[in-house]
């Protein structure tokens, strides 16, 4: 599935839930299912700044594709990490860096999340793209 196909799938999933509490239920479920980051990667280096809760993100390159794992001390945040990972993980650094992430707005997450959480989500996206660009640079050199 391409990045955009995955985004469209998420938008469709969320559109089926009318109540925001249901959407949160879904996000929380994703958060609980998020594959945990290996303990050794929960370092200050992997902490993303700009979140009220603590967020760790770890990247690994396998066969030219980037894989993300993450964790947070807040379960809604974990759900959001899970959403981002499901969209971006397993793609080439080039595709990730060039991706247009529209599902956050389309789902209405940006306007419904508290501003600090929404900023945190954008910090997370920025960080993931930054990793992708860094890997691109390394692969080219």
């Amino acid at each position: 599935m391409t990045i955009n196909e995955k985004q469209d799938e998420l938008i469709a999933d969320f559109s089926m839930m009318e109540e925001w509490m249901d959407k949160y239920e879904y996000i929380i479920q994703l958060g609980k299912e998020l594959p945990l980051i290996a303990e050794q990667y929960k370092t200050d280096d992997n902490l993303i700044k700009g979140c009220q809760s603590r967020v760790w993100l770890h990247t690994e390159l396998k066969d030219g594709k980037l894989f993300f794992t993450g964790d947070s001390d807040a379960v809604i945040t974990k759900g959001l990490i899970s959403l981002m990972i499901s969209v971006l993980s397993g793609h080439t650094p080039k595709d990730i860096a060039a991706s247009d992430i529209y599902f956050i707005d389309a789902i209405g997450l940006r306007s419904h999340l508290s501003p600090t959480r929404s900023n945190g989500l954008l910090s997370m996206l920025k960080q993931m793209k930054l990793y992708a660009v860094a890997y691109m640079a390394k692969m080219e050199s």
């Binding site: 509490m21 949160y24 929380i28 009220q52 603590r54 001390d73 809604i76 945040t77 508290s114 959480r117």
Partner: protein
């Protein structure tokens, strides 16, 4: 505190009170009626405050203290009348003991800077408590650093109460000022400030009270309580944002140099020497927040009309009810369980992150605050990332408390 049996008869007709607050009538969030439990952060404004602001700007907006014209005189009269209202509200001996500031933070910075520059020397001690808001920590840290003085902290017990034995032990001739909060913004603890002031005064040490979370809940008589300084914010007592009060005893204020320089605070200016104005103008450089002061006075008059005693009684009933109702939530623990409390209730449920809980309360129409509440040292002490804080006002209802409890239960069930 009142017991449950008195709950059958609320001390206030809240349905009528709520009609005075347009936002409470109109606001919905996500299509639900707003339940506003973030009063510790800021309070909603009664119509009379909004009308007063509008009348000022449509009727007599003008600069104060310097115009020869009619409007300026009218604005000056209203501004000075507001000072008298604020002074009367806390029963200050003189109205010039009331300095209008931007808020509690500004008031404390004024004292820390001006008092500190004059009376603090290397080796001196400023005594604060472990439950202070950052605004009653950082200004003192700054002046202590500048002067080579030391900041010492009165510790608290696990219920969030000051250890008064430790306080007595910490009082010595090195302490030049005690700066403590009257009511904890995070835990709602009401501190034994009368005892603190008595003990400090026995050693001729002045006391500053941070009354930001007290003034809207507790009747304060500064001539009875005898603080040397008292700070509060207008917006937390149903007045406008941007206005606050510093009360200071005349004797202290006269001994302190101006905080900021500018217009209004001078008598004469030459390039060689400036003669400062007298109190209170010495501490009010520049054009003051005229509308804010008049709006604050309107809020204070409104509270007097409702009746401070009734407000206090009702809020005690409400907080007791809220504590008992929340107690039924499985896995809840209260951060701060002081015997004497007011305003705020902080809690956590199981190991659920307060941020998650707060967000799901918001989605159910309930406004609370989550986080460290600008008391990071206190959070470190309890080894928690933050709390969920519900802070109550006299316009909140028992039904709203029930909604809060139901929403906490629903959110916790989802997050567990």
């Amino acid at each position: 505190m009142d017991n449950v049996s008195t709950l059958a008869a609320p001390a206030l007709d809240v349905a009528r009170i709520r009609k005075d607050f347009p936002l409470l009538q109109q606001a919905t969030v996500y299509g639900l009626p707003l339940v506003y439990f973030d009063n510790g952060a800021t309070t909603q404004k009664p119509q009379v405050v909004l009308d007063t602001l509008e009348q000022y700007y449509t009727g007599y907006n003008s600069n104060v203290h310097r115009g020869v014209h009619h409007l300026s005189q009218k604005a000056t009269d209203a501004y000075e009348e507001a000072r008298k209202t604020a002074a009367a509200y806390i029963n200050a001996q003189y109205s010039h003991e009331v300095i209008f500031t931007k808020g509690t933070t500004d008031s404390i910075n004024l004292v820390a800077s001006s008092f500190g520059r004059t009376f603090l020397q290397a080796g001196d001690v400023v005594l604060i408590s472990a439950m202070e808001h950052h605004s009653n920590i950082v200004p003192w840290q700054m002046i202590c650093e500048e002067k080579g003085a030391e900041l010492k902290v009165i510790p608290i017990n696990e219920r969030g109460e000051l250890l008064m034995d430790e306080f007595s032990r910490l009082l010595n001739e090195r302490v030049k000022i005690v700066a403590v909060t009257y009511v904890s913004n995070t835990m709602g603890t009401v501190n034994p400030v009368k005892d603190i002031i008595t003990q400090a005064h026995a050693r001729n040490i002045p006391v500053l009270l941070d009354a930001a979370q007290a003034i809207q809940h507790i009747t304060i008589d500064v001539q009875d309580l005898q603080p040397d300084f008292l700070a509060f914010s207008g917006h937390k007592i149903y007045g406008p944002t941007g206005i606050g009060v510093l009360y200071g005893k005349e004797a202290w204020l006269n001994k302190m140099p101006p905080y900021q320089g500018g217009g209004d605070m001078i008598k004469t200016v030459t390039f060689a020497k400036t003669i400062y104005n007298e109190l209170p103008y010495k501490f009010e450089a520049g054009t003051p927040d005229v509308s804010g002061a008049i709006g604050l006075a309107a809020a204070l008059n409104y509270l007097q009309q409702v009746g401070l005693e009734k407000i206090q009684q009702y809020e005690e009933q409400l907080i007791e009810y809220a504590l008992q109702a929340l107690q039924q939530v499985p896995g809840i623990r209260f951060i701060g369980q002081a015997a004497h409390r007011s305003g705020a209730i902080s809690f956590l449920v199981d190991d659920i992150h307060p941020y998650d809980l707060g967000e799901l309360l918001d989605k159910q129409g309930i406004a609370v605050r989550t986080g460290h509440h600008c008391t990071e040292p206190l959070m470190d002490l309890f080894k928690i990332p933050g709390t969920v804080r519900a802070s109550l006002s006299f316009y909140n209802t028992f039904e709203e408390v029930d909604k809060l409890v139901a929403a906490v239960n629903r959110a916790a069930a989802m997050l567990r």
